[in-house]
């Protein structure tokens, strides 16, 4: 497997299952994603579609009993090579407890989690927890780690950073904790930053601030970003490319322009029309997608979206899994409507 020169990480056909006592949950059912160097890939989907599991698969921190059954996660990295050469590693194949994986975690790929309130240990100072990442992955002294952490805290907009360094998580507000989390995620200057709904748990004004901060930092650090959200508005602001996920599959992928102006998949079309518009008439009701996500223990035959789809082709969509159709310029869709 060779990554194209502009690609940082490519996930192909990733399958993750959770064997539970009630049945097996197919969390990811052949996910394929590519993240380009220095670009932001937005992943959009409803709750339970496998966005977070995709992110956690990359770091190999899927909660037990989840396991990767199939697929590849190729990463371009300098870790594990001498004289600064790059190599390609399949993260899906290596032992999650290996030294290699340990070095890739935060050394190469870091992550901002959804809940800033519980992402930090209540028993250690924020400074300790942030500088710890530096001490593990970069060859720095304690003093230097402290210094760089304080600078980083200032960079993400935390005032009085040198005092704040010695404070505990409960002394920070949610927004401030998420800022600290971002500081921690960027402290080792990773090549990929995964942001798993980083603004979902924050209130709207703080959301906007944090989003602005991330866009700002993106320019400075040049990391690629995998931005996971269910909020299309956020995606329009921050992403270069977008993947739309439904039930453990990517149903459509394209540039932000393609997705917003020329959506192909009925699910994408529905998602876009579900965004509330302030220009609408007062009598207009909010648009919602018909139906609900099926139980995770059920496996939907054919196209996963067919039970909710308004443009279903009877006799085809319920039985056959649609294959990927390329519209050029990287715009791909999995839908029978477009197959010849």
């Amino acid at each position: 497997m060779q990554l194209n020169p502009d690609e940082l990480i490519r996930i192909s056909n990733l399958k993750v299952t959770f064997p539970l006592t009630e049945g097996t949950v197919q969390a990811l059912d052949g996910v394929s994603l590519t993240i380009k160097k220095g670009k932001v890939l937005g992943v959009v989907g409803e709750s339970g579609c496998g966005k977070s599991i995709t992110a956690r698969s990359i770091l190999r921190i899927i909660p037990p009993p989840g396991r990767i059954d199939d697929g590849e996660i190729w990463l371009r990295t300098k870790i594990g090579t001498s004289n600064g050469h790059e190599q390609m590693i399949d993260l899906a194949k290596i032992d999650p407890n290996s030294e290699m994986m340990r070095q890739i975690r935060w050394g190469e790929i870091s992550m901002v989690f959804q809940e800033p309130m519980t992402s930090f240990s209540a028993y250690h100072t924020l400074g300790d927890q942030i500088s710890e990442a530096l001490l593990i992955h970069r060859n720095v002294s304690r003093r230097e780690a402290r210094q760089r952490t304080i600078e980083m805290l200032e960079r993400v907009g935390i005032p009085n950073a040198s005092t704040r360094f010695n404070q505990y998580p409960h002394e920070f507000s949610g927004g401030m904790r998420q800022r600290a989390m971002i500081a921690m995620a960027l402290i080792c200057n990773p090549s990929l930053l995964i942001a798993d709904e980083p603004t979902t748990a924050l209130d709207v004004t703080i959301q906007a601030q944090v989003l602005e901060l991330m866009q700002d930092l993106r320019k400075d650090f040049g990391s690629s970003i995998l931005f996971i959200t269910h909020n299309l508005g956020v995606i329009a602001q921050i992403a270069d490319e977008v993947s739309i996920m439904y039930l453990g599959k990517v149903v459509e992928h394209g540039s932000v322009t393609d997705i917003f102006h020329d959506p192909k998949h009925p699910y994408t079309v529905d998602l876009l029309s579900a965004i509330p518009k302030i220009t609408g008439q007062k009598k207009d009701r909010l648009v919602a997608i018909e139906g609900t996500i099926p139980s995770p223990f059920e496996r939907v035959a054919g196209c996963p979206f067919h039970p909710r789809c308004s443009r279903i082709i009877q006799g085809l969509c319920e039985t056959q899994v649609p294959s990927e159709i390329d519209f050029g310029n990287g715009h791909t869709v999995r839908c029978h409507l477009y197959s010849k």
Binding site: G107, M111, F113, T118, S121, A122, Y123, H124, A133, I136
Partner: protein, 332 residues
């Protein structure tokens, strides 16, 4: 932090003071006093005692003064010169009657509690991290046995094994030659040689309980997001476990030290009897029957003080462990 310790210390002394009052009042509640009891015994043995003689005797012992005067004398003696009063039954100072035994008790319980935590905490962590493994099942079964077996039965089994298979009697706390010797290095070593069995018997149920507590809280903590974050950060697994979830899981264990200490000290009188430990249990019983106020009061005070001191230690430990407790100060 210093303010917190100071506050807790003040509260502790206040509690101890109030306790001493409660203890004294409770002991005064039953009708009659030591003089009645003494005279009753004399009459039983056929002696003729007049009411005047009883009154004289009572006056001699100072028992005719009101209870609060006697209480103030008693507590004053304790505070000013560590004099816990006079045991009427044994006709010597209370400190003489129970002093040595108290020292044994403290040594024994501190040893027991330290060892029990040193063993139980790592075992609990292991059990949680390897949940449902053979090792976990082994310790779980062992733990339930430890909690379910009455200590005295356990003591008997151990005694039996040591006498039958190792041909060594290990009752008591000292070898014969050290029995009446003053404390010395050699005596201390001899003491530790003897107490291992008592430590096992007294420590097992507490240790088993700590294993269960530690396992349960670790199971809760190990799937918390902050642990996942620490793992995602690339911390080596072992270091990560000890630094993050263990730190949180120690809280419930630390808060049990208070009553754990008292539990071990008061022990079970039957266990003490089986192992021939110089426990204060029998003396306590005798002092209560004889209405020997100062002696029983001192022992009661000692028991309660252990709980309070244990709680104080728990508070300090919790404050050291948890910044949220430390920073909010303490009781208003």
């Amino acid at each position: 932090m210093a303010r917190y310790i100071f506050q807790r210390l003040m509260i502790m002394f206040l509690m101890l003071f109030m306790l001493s009052l409660v203890v004294f009042v409770v002991l005064e509640l039953p009708p009659g006093d030591f003089a009645d009891r003494y005279v009753h015994d004399l009459r039983q043995s056929g002696a003729q005692v007049t009411a005047d003689q009883v009154q004289l005797y009572r006056h001699m012992l100072g028992l005719d003064r009101p209870w609060y005067i006697r209480y103030l004398n008693w507590i004053g003696g304790i505070i000013t010169r560590l004099d816990f009063g006079w045991s009427l039954t044994f006709r010597m100072p209370v400190t003489k009657v129970i002093g040595d035994r108290l020292l044994f008790t403290v040594l024994l319980s501190v040893t027991t509690i330290t060892l029990s935590y040193l063993i139980a905490i790592p075992v609990g962590i292991y059990s949680a991290m390897r949940q449902y493994s053979i090792g976990d099942y082994f310790f779980t079964v062992l733990g339930y046995f430890g909690m379910a077996t009455p200590a005295f039965l356990f003591a008997l089994i151990l005694l039996y094994i040591s006498v039958i298979y190792f041909n060594t009697g290990v009752g008591g706390l000292f070898s014969r030659e050290f029995q009446d010797q003053p404390w010395s290095w050699a005596k201390l070593i001899d003491f530790f040689k003897h107490i291992w069995m008592a430590v096992i018997v007294l420590g097992t149920s507490g240790a088993a309980f700590t294993i269960r507590t530690m396992r349960a809280t670790m199971l809760d903590e190990k799937n918390q997001l902050y642990v996942t974050v620490a793992r995602a950060k690339g911390l080596p697994e072992r270091k990560l476990i000890w630094k993050y979830p263990v730190r949180a899981a120690l809280n419930p264990v630390a808060s049990t030290i208070g009553w754990e200490l008292a539990e071990i000290v008061s022990g079970s009188p039957i266990t003490a009897t089986v192992l021939a430990l110089p426990d204060i249990g029998p003396i306590f019983l005798k002092s209560l029957i004889n209405q020997d106020v100062y002696l029983s009061g001192t022992i009661l005070l000692f028991y309660s003080a252990l709980t309070i001191i244990g709680t104080f230690l728990s508070d300090l430990l919790l404050a050291a462990l948890d910044p949220r407790i430390r920073l909010t100060g303490g009781a208003p």
